[in-house]
Subunit: 301 residues, 2 copies
């Protein structure tokens, strides 16, 4: 029997309706929600991401100020602008695009961004707030997106055995803490794990985010498993060659092999037919965090 499909799009639409309502209510109070994007250089991927954020925020009545720097901007100029934004009462959040060029010390910048205007937890202070479950913190959007998925579909993680296949600062580590704060029993797996399958086989929930199509297969999972696949990758065959569609194009996929669909209880993945994955939730959460920052800075939270 095919798994129940969980749709990140459905989750994000529900969240964005709430965001729009909040932004409009703030506007009625005379507050225009606004975020800034700081981008150095002309990387096409970054420009495209920036455009999608501007469009998305526009639909949510959130204004975006795009601050662009030449690739050879000095660290001092970059910091001066960041501090001006930190102090600007009309800007509630700022997203600093990564990577920064070598002349700018990215580690230093993290700490200079005001934690109150930091919607994606670049400043480690927000990760520390996560560790102590301080709800006034901002947590990494991709990780929190997985928690939003559970919330939307009424999946109670308390007491569940959860495997997170990822150990990054933006996903595996914060998600492990979020799940533990909700009393799940979490095992974090990664490239040095002896046997990921030995954990996933008995897990109630598996979250994966590796970018390797087929990393998670049906024989690694139980029939009761809920599989949340955060990865964005392309489908490859058993010889590690790209699989092409009828138009000769690569096929978007997650970590989940297509055979997972007929095995597990619930699934979301970018792998075709598997619900689409959590991607759309990330931008919705960014918007939600900008609203939260605005409310906090306006004394409404």
């Amino acid at each position: 029997m095919a798994a129940k499909l969980l749709s990140g799009k459905e989750v994000s639409e529900s969240m964005l309706a709430e965001v729009l309502k909040d932004a409009n209510e703030l506007k009625e109070k005379g507050i225009q929600v606004k975020m800034a994007i700081m981008r150095v250089g002309e990387d096409p991927g970054s420009i495209s991401y920036e455009k999608s954020i501007i469009t998305r925020m526009g639909k949510s009545n959130i204004e975006v100020e795009s601050v662009q720097f030449p690739i050879d901007v000095t660290e001092a100029d970059f910091i001066a602008k960041l501090q001006a934004i930190n102090e600007d009462k009309n800007i509630h959040s700022v997203l600093i695009f990564q990577p920064l060029p070598d002349q700018i010390d990215a580690e230093k910048i993290k700490y200079l961004l005001s934690p109150e205007k930091d919607p994606d937890a670049l400043n480690p202070t927000n990760l520390g707030k996560l560790m102590i479950a301080d709800e006034r913190g901002f947590f990494p959007c991709t990780a929190e997106g997985v928690m939003e998925m559970f919330k939307f579909y009424n999946i109670d993680v308390k007491g569940k055995d959860v495997v997170v296949i990822n150990n990054s600062n933006v996903l595996g580590k914060p998600l492990t803490i979020m799940l533990t704060n909700e009393f799940a029993t979490v095992t974090m797996c990664h490239v040095h794990t002896k046997s990921t399958a030995s954990f996933t086989k008995t897990a109630d929930i598996v979250v994966t985010a590796c970018g390797i199509y087929g990393l998670v297969r049906a024989d690694m999972l139980s029939e009761d498993c809920i599989l949340i696949d955060v990865a964005m990758s392309q489908m490859k065959d058993e010889n590690k060659e790209f699989v092409l569609n009828e138009e000769g194009k690569k096929i978007r996929a997650g970590d989940a092999h297509v055979d997972c669909l007929d095995k597990v209880a619930m699934i979301t993945s970018a792998t075709p037919g598997c619900g689409g994955g959590t991607g759309p939730i990330t931008t919705a959460l960014l918007a939600k965090h900008v609203i939260k920052a605005c409310k906090m800075q306006s004394g409404l939270l």
Copy 2:
């Protein structure tokens, strides 16, 4: 065959020799290492802990300024003193004793303590630094004590399956992140875990810190297991009655049942005959962190 005993005392003595050497070298450079303790009220446990810290630091040539407040001190007065210490160039660290009385907002105080003078990671910014493995951060002493144990006995955690039975902000969560940063595969168990034994049975390393004698028993562990028992408790029998020694006194113990000693490969625990546990390392680490804070504030690190 009895397990190899790991001795927290041995680890701490090695660390304290290093601390004393550092403190003396700093003195030769004209720098007296100094920490402050802030204590509100006259709780006997706190007074006794304070005395032990003063004695310990004295042996390490670290000066301690003990700041005592009446139990009805106002929040404003407490904060004023904390800020004076934050700004005092001759004080390199400050330990704020918990719990604080109700009129002082402990959550607010956490963030007011300078992260640079915070040797036991009270300020969440230091927990955030741990999440991104920023070595200039200060991490909770009890959790880091377990890592010092591994280091001293050349136990490589990379790729090992580790179970941490504790989910607190000062032990389970930070230790899970520390171990993950060293590429162990960690499962964090707690009171809502369905079956802790199902994880411990195949684990290479088990760290426990629950304060319940007998929580960890031989039949939950493999013969190759390394058991690190951080707990401080008293021995009870199968009817949950205290076990008394020949003098009629309660017997200090950890979580590990005495039967673990003859099962596992290596052990440390406060349970009699099991190596003594990690306790002594915690104060040694506190001293080490005060030295590190002094060096950083003096531009030597």
